[in-house]
């Protein structure tokens, strides 16, 4: 090992790369799956403006995309009265505070995520907000603090509203999307935009046209989050809404499953590449150890005549392989952690959410075991010649 530092480094590095990829991709997949499944909460159906159903689900359920548009609150209320619907929670968007979305909704919203108040109370009047756990923690906000929202869903300093929102409550951490939302009542959103529209009509708002073009025609919401009373609703309700109203109904489970399948292909591909690199790196460990055993066969045979047992020789060679394996494992873990950290830091500043999910212990163990077994197999194959060594033959032939 000392004699071939570069080759050893290469072995360690290739193995580390495959380990990093394996752990990285698994953690990424776990995180994504968790985000999708967990944030669904009790939402069976999302009703919003016509457009892409996936976009509607992403914006209203995961809160990462722009809404498809607005719908009239009146229309939404009519649908809510359907006996097949258990709860229907309206949400209205329009603003953000430092990139955290402000959601106008009703008290039932938190219940969708089993969110409970940690401190404070529910908003009673307009311009009062409850902060998700992450928002309060990251922005260091307390009850009684005030904040200025900015228009649109992306952080900016130019387009600030002049109304102050007052923090009246903070939610307990839920590990769900609500942690990074600012929740208020519908009135706050509507009021801010009335004001906004009247005063700043000349501002250019191409991106967010949909939020404020027709305030005079009645109160609007972005979407309606529906949970069914019975699965029967699944068969009739979406079809009826899509065909007979100017709104669309999207099934989040279905849409996210579709999205997951698309991304799943990518995950699978990268996983296979990682496995291939793993095999190649184990092969390189095997070759370097095997070569060493063959080249030093004479020395090893000599050591046997000195009284060294097979076991002692095997230990010498295995030690080298195990050191490579151990170093690679550590480096691999470090690489995957660092890689994901930077990846998610990037996503986090974009979407203001921490989506990184720790790999389940069991899966970590499984992958770790797989890697260890592969390394052990390559070491075992390399030391096989030691076991089969015929000292007499090796020593009676000249080098």
């Amino acid at each position: 090992m000392k004699a071939k530092p570069l080759y050893t480094f290469l072995s360690v590095f290739i193995l580390a790369l495959s380990i990093a990829l394996l752990f990285g991709i698994q953690q990424l997949e776990t995180s994504l799956k968790y985000q999708m499944e967990n944030n669904l909460g009790a939402i069976d159906l999302v009703i919003g403006a016509k457009g892409s159903p996936l976009q509607l689900v992403l914006s209203s359920v995961l809160h990462i995309d722009n809404p498809t548009g607005n719908i009239l609150y009146e229309d939404a209320k009519k649908i809510s009265k359907n006996p097949l619907i258990k709860t229907a929670v309206p949400i209205a968007y329009g603003d953000n505070y430092k990139g955290y979305r402000i959601v106008g909704t009703t008290d039932e919203f938190a219940a969708l995520y089993h969110g409970k108040l940690k401190k404070g109370r529910e908003p009673k009047k307009a311009m009062e907000v409850i902060l998700g756990h992450t928002v309060a923690e990251q922005e260091n906000l307390k009850i009684g603090d005030t904040l200025l929202s900015s228009h649109g869903l992306v952080e900016n300093d130019i387009d600030l509203h002049s109304e102050h929102l007052t923090v009246v409550g903070i939610y307990q951490p839920t590990k769900k999307v609500i942690d990074r939302l600012i929740v208020t009542n519908l009135k706050s959103v509507w009021e801010v935009h009335h004001h906004h529209n009247n005063n700043e009509e000349d501002k250019k708002e191409e991106d967010h046209l949909q939020h404020h073009e027709n305030l005079d025609e009645g109160e609007e919401i972005s979407s309606l989050l529906v949970s069914f009373r019975s699965p029967l609703a699944l068969l009739t309700l979406p079809k009826r809404i899509n065909e007979h109203t100017n709104m669309q109904a999207a099934l989040p489970k279905y849409e996210l499953e579709k999205l997951y399948q698309y991304t799943g292909i990518g995950f699978k591909t990268i996983s296979w590449i990682a496995y291939m690199i793993l095999v190649i790196s184990c092969l390189s460990i095997f070759i370097s150890l095997y070569k060493m055993v063959k080249e030093r066969a004479f020395d090893l045979a000599l050591l046997r005549t000195y009284g060294a047992s097979n076991f002692q020789l095997i230990r010498m060679v295995a030690y080298e392989g195990l050191t490579i394996g151990f170093l690679a494992f550590m480096l691999g873990l470090l690489l995957s952690k660092a890689g994901l950290y930077f990846l998610f830091k990037m996503v986090e500043t974009q979407y203001k959410q921490n989506m990184l999910q720790e790999l389940p212990y069991q899966q970590f163990l499984q992958t770790g075991a797989l890697v260890s077994i592969m390394i052990l197999i390559s070491i075992s194959l390399a030391i096989y010649p030691i076991i089969k060594m015929n000292i007499s033959t090796i020593l009676s032939h000249e080098k």
């Binding site: 020395d299 050591l303 005549t305 000195y306 009284g307 060294a308 076991f311 007499s392």
Partner: protein, 210 residues
């Protein structure tokens, strides 16, 4: 004490080529020269005596132990402790220097690694000046002496030498054999030398021909 009884051996691939070896009996401090042409099985006999090969039938007794009845692991240990081997070409582990080779020898034979002992042998064999040299940096003569040191440093009961003089001139030949006899005497070991080199015959009182 070395004793062999009806040793018969053949290699796996040449079953019709059977080696039959005469019985050997050596009491304490008795030395033996085994002479024979090449190909007659001298090295084979030496490897049988060292337990590197297993006889097809017959027995090798060293210090009252039938070495062929030992387990694989037990044989390794026994060999390390009680047998010293000197090879035709003198080999030591290439990547180690003289002192490290001797340390390894002591370590694997289960003896405590005593640097005083090592210095003593290096002094006696005239290797003191190059104790830090790697095995592949030594001259033929130095390697020969290192080979002897490797074979005797752990105080074996039997020293087995395979053609130790084949590459040496007359002067060195006699010196090496005398050195071996002296070392064997010091450690009260049996010395068995196999060779086709008739120059050393006068130095042994006890010899057989294969």
């Amino acid at each position: 004490m070395v004793q062999t009884d009806n040793l018969i051996f053949h290699y796996k691939k040449k079953e019709n080529h059977i080696f039959k070896f005469p019985d050997i009996t050596l009491n304490e401090q008795e030395n033996l020269l085994i002479l024979g042409k090449s190909g007659i099985g001298k090295t084979t006999l030496l490897h049988l005596l060292a337990g590197l090969l297993n006889p097809v039938s017959g027995e090798v007794m060293i210090e009252g132990v039938a070495i062929n009845t030992l387990s694989h692991w037990g044989l390794d240990k026994f060999r390390g402790q009680h047998i010293g081997l000197i090879f035709q070409k003198n080999y030591a582990v290439q990547s180690l220097n003289i002192v490290e080779n001797l340390q390894a020898r002591l370590f694997f034979s289960g003896k405590s690694v005593n640097n005083k002992t090592i210095d003593f042998f290096l002094e006696q064999l005239g290797l003191k000046d190059c104790k830090k040299s790697k095995a592949n940096e030594l001259s033929e003569g130095q390697l020969q002496r290192l080979g002897i040191a490797m074979a005797v440093i752990h105080g074996p009961k039997v020293i087995l030498a395979d053609e130790p003089t084949s590459s040496l001139d007359d002067e060195n030949c006699e010196m090496v054999i005398n050195l071996l006899i002296k070392q064997a005497k010091q450690t009260k070991a049996n010395l068995i030398v196999i060779t086709h080199d008739h120059r050393i015959k006068p130095l042994f009182s006890n010899s057989i021909s294969l």
